[in-house]
Symmetry: C2
Subunit: 467 residues, 2 copies
């Protein structure tokens, strides 16, 4: 792919850099010496790392996905194409037991949408309807708007909400803290009679960049249309209201929820050479929102976990246990893939040794997150020491992911996440800017190495990882 990935990345990095490059620290929490049992894994680990870092195969495969398919919302023809593309290429790679597992998924369609400030002065609003939102009336709706910073202010001003459009302008303070306004804002406002809501985008302030994502309608509140607006537009509305100006906003959305449609999780394996019934799952979700390319969320996660299997296979490193790749469907607006896996594999969940999900981007890896017993954590820390040379030997306090958690919770399976420098993730998350140029091919190659080494050693080591 010629010389452009690195150059592009350097441009992006210069623009997007939030923090200095992260140098992973192997701190006191890490074992000071390599455990003796690991000696046998030094050579396979270095072969996997060397193969992962030898080129930009993962990045090129992700470019192939995002360029030939693009984004992949549940129910879309694009997701169907992505599934077919994955199956064909997994087979071409020579992986085993390649198949799809059927899942019915929601089918939400955005349609045309637009929003504008009408008074005190006309301005268009940079917006994206929230996934799952209902439509406005066909001609759109126009109403007075009221800006509130948080739910406390909404409740305090409840008497002024009836018939109005509520604008939630909570500044982004981290995804976990702020996402409640996107998820619950519509129903919270509807209970006070609001006719629609606009939510300041849940993400770092960008370049007039709205971020979509799902909402949940509560059973006890009227359903009203809901959209995200760019931080700049939320600030403008706040300034206008602070000046005492009378706000009028127009919103038009054609969004609609159609009947559920068939989709599928994609599965491929490297069957274990001694205990094939024991399973280490590595995974990412193949679906995405319907904007941008879903490169970081979560095309990258699919490709780095897939590459881990491909490299083991290519190097003839067949572990004792089975390593299973799952490319989930419908993480973004239903988690139906993860829920279906729990039901379809209920009989074998007891034999699941570990479930890893990569869904925070494939930027510079720090290591892994892990949820499991203290003894298992120590083993994982020992394995992580094999990744010290690529600066990715941290073991964070929490593993898992939206798709693996249902199965893991049901059966007490240890979980792992790929942990990366995610400082740029929430700048592009669920936006038109989630494209491959934001990802450095060498960072992505190191992510492959982390997953490959972790999965290989856990699948191969003599004793099974304790629950």
């Amino acid at each position: 792919m010629a010389d452009y990935p690195r150059r592009l990345f350097l441009q992006s990095l210069a623009m997007l850099a939030l923090t200095p490059p992260v140098t992973a620290i192997s701190a006191a929490a890490q074992p000071s010496e390599t455990a003796a049992w690991l000696e046998a894994y030094r050579q396979p680990a270095s072969r996997l790392i060397g193969a992962a870092l030898a080129g930009h195969a993962a990045w090129r495969r992700l470019a192939d996905l995002t360029d030939t398919v693009g984004n992949r919302l549940s129910g879309s023809e694009r997701l169907d194409r992505a599934i077919a593309w994955a199956v064909a290429n997994l087979k071409k790679d020579g992986l085993e037991n390649v198949h799809t597992e059927p899942v019915m998924v929601p089918h939400w369609v955005r349609g045309h949408e637009e929003a504008a400030i009408v008074a005190p002065a006309p301005h268009h609003l940079a917006m994206l309807g929230l996934g799952g939102s209902i439509a406005t009336p066909p001609a759109g709706l126009e109403a007075e708007a009221i800006v509130v910073r948080n739910f406390g202010e909404l409740d305090a001003r409840a008497g002024q909400v009836d018939g109005r459009i509520v604008v939630f302008n909570e500044p982004y303070e981290g995804y976990g803290q702020t996402v409640q306004y996107r998820v619950d804002g519509a129903s919270r406002a509807a209970r006070h009679g609001a006719v629609a809501v606009l939510v300041r985008s849940v993400g770092l302030a960008g370049l007039r960049t709205p971020h979509t994502g799902y909402l949940t309608y509560a059973a006890d509140a009227p359903k009203i249309p809901a959209a995200a607006i760019a931080a700049e537009d939320a600030d403008r509305l706040q300034r206008m209201q602070d000046r005492g100006e009378h706000l009028v906003v127009q919103l038009k959305m054609e969004a609609r929820m159609l009947p559920d449609v068939p989709s599928a999780n994609v599965v491929a394996e490297l069957r274990g050479r001694e205990r094939p019934e024991e399973i280490v799952v590595v995974s990412g979700h193949l679906d995405s929102w319907d904007v941008g390319d879903g490169a970081s969320d979560d095309g990258g996660g699919c490709i780095v976990t897939w590459e881990a299997l491909r490299l083991m296979n290519e190097l003839g490193l067949r572990p004792r246990r089975t390593v299973r790749l799952v490319l989930w469907t419908n993480e973004e607006n239903g988690t139906r893939g993860g829920l279906a896996y729990r039901e379809q594999h209920r009989q074998e969940l007891a034999h699941h040794v570990l479930m890893l999900e990569s869904d925070s981007g494939v930027f510079a890896p720090r290591g892994v997150g892990f949820t499991g017993s203290d003894r298992s954590r120590r083993v994982v820390q020992e394995i992580a020491s094999l990744l010290r040379g690529i600066g990715a030997d941290e073991v964070g306090i929490r593993g898992g992911g939206a798709d693996v958690d249902p199965s893991a919770d049901a059966a007490g399976i240890p979980t792992m996440s790929l942990d990366v420098d995610d400082s740029r993730y929430f700048l592009i998350h669920h936006t038109e800017a989630d494209t491959i140029d934001k990802i450095d091919p060498s960072d992505m190659a190191r992510c492959v190495a982390v997953v490959a080494v972790m999965a290989y050693v856990v699948a191969d080591m003599p004793g099974r990882l304790e629950r």
Copy 2:
């Protein structure tokens, strides 16, 4: 305006930061001691600086402009409103000789526009038509596309261009170096038979952010439609072509050039107390592109130069010579305001002492740029020493601006620019993201101080600045 400007700025800064904060260095080029004649200006300078930095009046006024008017393309009703708003508020401020000076300006209208990749796989393109472009046929046009990195590659592949859409994918290397593809690309491609051009946006790679700007049609080439596309989209097309894929692109633009319409430069003065016929001009351009708010390009330049006069007036600092504020019309697509001023004021150009334009944003000020004789430069450097305390005492090698240069060139008038840390300027320049939240109110206040001190001392000092 409550507490939000700073918070927002910090968010923006974190996201956008290209370089560490600039600390202006008073280097060897600066006089080591303050010149004796300057002693008389210490007190007025410190009063101007103190008044400028006492609050966020400039930022608030810019917010008023961008919120009540928004962007201001020549020929638009919004620019007319901005002119009326400026005249009313200049009078309210008690400035003198407030009036408009008529200028006929081009009237280009964007209309609806869209673009998409049709093959090898469907993708929409994030695009903005270039200012001055003609429309496509009403149904749009569809053609094979060819990507070239530069004019050399265009000429080398000239035989493949006929009937195609040419995509210029020259990575941004600085505005001066790269803008030629936007300005000249259409005619260069049309000479080889291209039916349209798409130009990689001239600016730092953003978040799927296209940058508009003017183009020039050469007299000897067919006029073809031209648009900017986001860096991400240019890269995608490049990748597709590099894979050997066959590219087909659709483009639809309704852009049209209407007959010229009346507009105006806005003028206000603080008349000189001793030599009112001698004039120091400070200026910014009130027009902008039709996307974003034109906050940094160039609402900020208008407001900081205006504030300089307002503060002198408020503090009773009436200089020996006249300080004249000009808010130019039509900088972006014609420079008709600057050209008209040269004609309308030809008789008094000989009495113009200095012409300053602020048109690089109102970020952290470094000082001024200056074009003039070596002796004048030394005087300017002496004056700049009064700005050392706010870190803005640099004197760069070039002054001027698109609007002041025609008059200055005609009459040999020294020119000055406000020089700022412009590392973020070309991230938002000519985009939907050129909004006020990108500007720190305290930086902007320091910009006011730089212009006020420079203009006051040059207008008041006993000897006239040498030509």
